[in-house]
């Protein structure tokens, strides 16, 4: 995998830094950090599916929602303990990932983006109508069992999950698999021509993404303690995830994390000036400018600067 000493140092510093952070910040900031962690998980998940392979998903919350609703229904309606329901939710989401894979076998580019958008709208409408006694209908469900109490515990849980996912995805993408996924994004026919099976590679990417989305969604719901269809299957939620991944830098692992933290804190710091939803205007405007200036994201700005420093000693 070509691991170098500075990889270990950087990861150790990053993980250590994240774990001592609660000693220095207020509890309000801690809650913001928790949301940033979850957003980072979702952004990594989106990136695993779309960032490398180029199959842009505009309905990623389809997967997150499956995970979230599975565990919510199991715990609330059937009294299944959380320890059992979260793994079941992850499995359900991976089945959902296979459903997303089906159209990707036949269509490419814009059409794939459209079908994912349609899937999200479909599940949003179905959740409200079909068996509202199970799903809670339009209003969703509240009073779900929560995993942790207090901001500090919630932070440690979310940050451990985020770091574990980030590290394992990073290792996975350093293998030849990651390279092959990049190649699919560049030229799928060439990948098939080199004797690799694009279908199998895409399946691995989609299942990885679904695994992360399901795990993140399920834990997120058990952190919030409530679930509502419009909060999940919302194009604005998808937008936040995509923008986090892209602003940070698609196709990297640090990128989505940087993007998620940057965006969450941007929204938080805008709050004193713009208390309402208008904050998103600044957010989207900034995202648009950043994206037009550097489509590869903040991570590449950082690496470019580092390369320039190294060249001019």
């Amino acid at each position: 995998m070509g691991l170098r000493w500075y990889h270990y140092v950087l990861w150790a510093a990053f993980i250590g830094g994240m774990f001592v952070l609660p000693e220095f910040v207020s509890r309000g900031t801690l809650r913001t950090l928790i949301f940033a962690n979850f957003l980072a998980i979702f952004a990594i998940s989106w990136d695993a599916l779309s960032g490398r392979t180029g199959y842009i998903s505009f309905g990623h919350t389809f997967l997150i929602g499956i995970g979230a609703y599975t565990t919510a229904i199991l715990t609330k309606r059937f009294g299944v303990p959380v320890e059992v329901s979260i793994p079941l939710a992850v499995i359900a989401t991976m089945i959902g990932g296979l459903i997303v894979l089906l159209p990707a076998l036949r269509i490419r580019g814009s059409y794939f983006a459209l079908v994912t958008l349609a899937m999200m709208e479909l599940i949003y409408q179905l959740v409200q109508v079909i068996r509202p006694d199970l799903t809670g209908g339009t209003r969703g469900m509240s009073g779900l069992p929560t995993l942790t109490r207090g901001a500090a515990n919630g932070y440690y849980m979310s940050v451990s999950l985020m770091l574990a996912i980030a590290l394992s995805t990073w290792l996975l993408m350093r293998t030849r698999l990651g390279t092959a996924l990049w190649a699919i994004g560049m030229n799928e026919d060439a990948v098939a021509g080199s004797g690799l099976s694009p279908t199998r590679l895409k399946m691995i990417a989609f299942l990885t993404s679904a695994f992360i989305a399901g795990l993140g969604g399920a834990v997120y719901i058990h952190y919030l303690g409530s679930i509502a269809p419009r909060a999940l299957f919302d194009i604005n939620f998808v937008f936040t995830i995509i923008v986090a991944a892209l602003i940070g830098g698609a196709g990297t692992i640090v990128g989505p994390i940087i993007g998620a933290f940057f965006l969450t804190f941007l929204l938080e710091y805008l709050r004193p000036w713009l208390p309402g939803a208008e904050r998103y205007m600044v957010y989207a405007g900034l995202a648009l400018i950043l994206y037009m200036v550097q489509p590869k994201g903040l991570a590449s700005l950082v690496t470019d600067a580092a390369a320039r420093l190294r060249r001019a000693p």
Binding site: G54, I56, F58, L102, P103, R106, I107, R108, G109, S110, Y111, A113, L114, V115, L117, A118, M119, E121, L122, Q125, L126, Q128, V129, I235, N236, F239, I242, V243, L246, G276, A277, E278, R279, Y280, M281, Y283, A284, G285, A287, L288, Y291, M292, P295
Partner: protein
């Protein structure tokens, strides 16, 4: 039954108008304009501001909405689509970001709450127990007139034929001396105008609120996918299929399910016949 027929016809006319601007861009520029829904949003709010808040004549309001939409289409082409040089993924993503930006710009300017548009033409006609507001009737008739005019434009004018040429084969069109840049810009301008005018009608059909751009975008997407690219008549036909499907679902099964079959149709068509029902063989 008559009621379903009339409602279906009215809704389908509106859907055809909504979808045709989107199809146009998709056929000529091969770009998925996810900000298309935002044209409808802006059109609706421009009309609301000028005709209802400032009290200008209503048709001036519709015309101003069209002008704003046209300007937005041109601006978007110049500032976003051209610099990205045919990188489709980048254009689609920046369109989505732009749409969300415009949604919250509207929140910033007009507030979060939904507004009710006064009907363009007040009054209600009763046919077979169904109340048909004159403004819906007007919207449907106007949609038909606009669509026929557009069809004639694409069919018979030089610019329209150039659009067809670019949509079929951009390289071949360039070799024949067609300025693709001008064709594209005209297409974006027309698409923006149509979107904004459709937005006025759509907003008076439902209501005006900052999140209203998603539903018409999905309709436009559905029409393009099911109909296939490059056909105004195909757009018209599929808009009727989808319009009637929605009206039938909501009157026979349940109003909440009205969009479900549209989505199922999209997914089924994409998986089974990706080039659409009437579109050219191409992906």
């Amino acid at each position: 039954m008559l009621q379903v027929l009339i409602q279906g016809l009215l809704l389908s006319g509106l859907y055809a108008l909504i979808a045709v601007g989107f199809t146009l861009i998709f056929s000529v520029g091969r770009v998925l304009n996810l900000a298309y829904g935002a044209y409808l949003l802006i059109g609706g709010y421009v009309y609301f501001h000028f005709a209802q808040t400032l009290g200008l004549p209503k048709f001036a309001g519709v015309a101003l909405a069209g002008i704003f939409g046209c300007a937005m289409g041109v601006l978007k082409y110049q500032l976003l689509v051209k610099p990205l040089k045919g990188n489709h993924v980048a254009i689609e993503i920046s369109s989505l970001i732009l749409a969300v930006f415009l949604q919250y710009a509207v929140v910033f300017a007009f507030g979060d709450s939904s507004k009710i548009l006064l009907p363009i033409i007040p009054g209600v006609e009763r046919v077979a127990g169904a109340a048909i507001p004159y403004s819906n009737l007007f919207a449907a008739i106007a949609s038909w007139i606009i669509l026929i005019a557009l069809w004639a434009y694409v069919r018979f004018t030089h610019m329209g034929r150039a659009m067809q040429a670019v949509s079929m084969d951009a390289k071949g069109a360039a070799i024949s001396g067609i300025d693709a840049n001008r064709v594209n810009m005209t297409t974006w301008a027309i698409s923006g105008t149509l979107g904004a005018i459709a937005g006025v009608f759509f907003a008076s059909y439902t209501q005006l609120y900052p999140g209203m751009w998603v539903a018409p975008l999905i309709v436009a997407v559905a029409v393009v996918i099911v109909g296939g690219i490059g056909s105004i008549m195909g757009t018209l036909l599929v808009a009727h299929i989808i319009g009637f499907l929605e009206v039938l679902t909501s009157s026979l099964i349940a109003p909440e399910l009205r969009g479900v079959f549209t989505m199922v149709l999209i997914i089924a068509i994409l998986v089974l016949r990706p080039q659409g029902l009437l579109g050219r063989e191409e992906l």
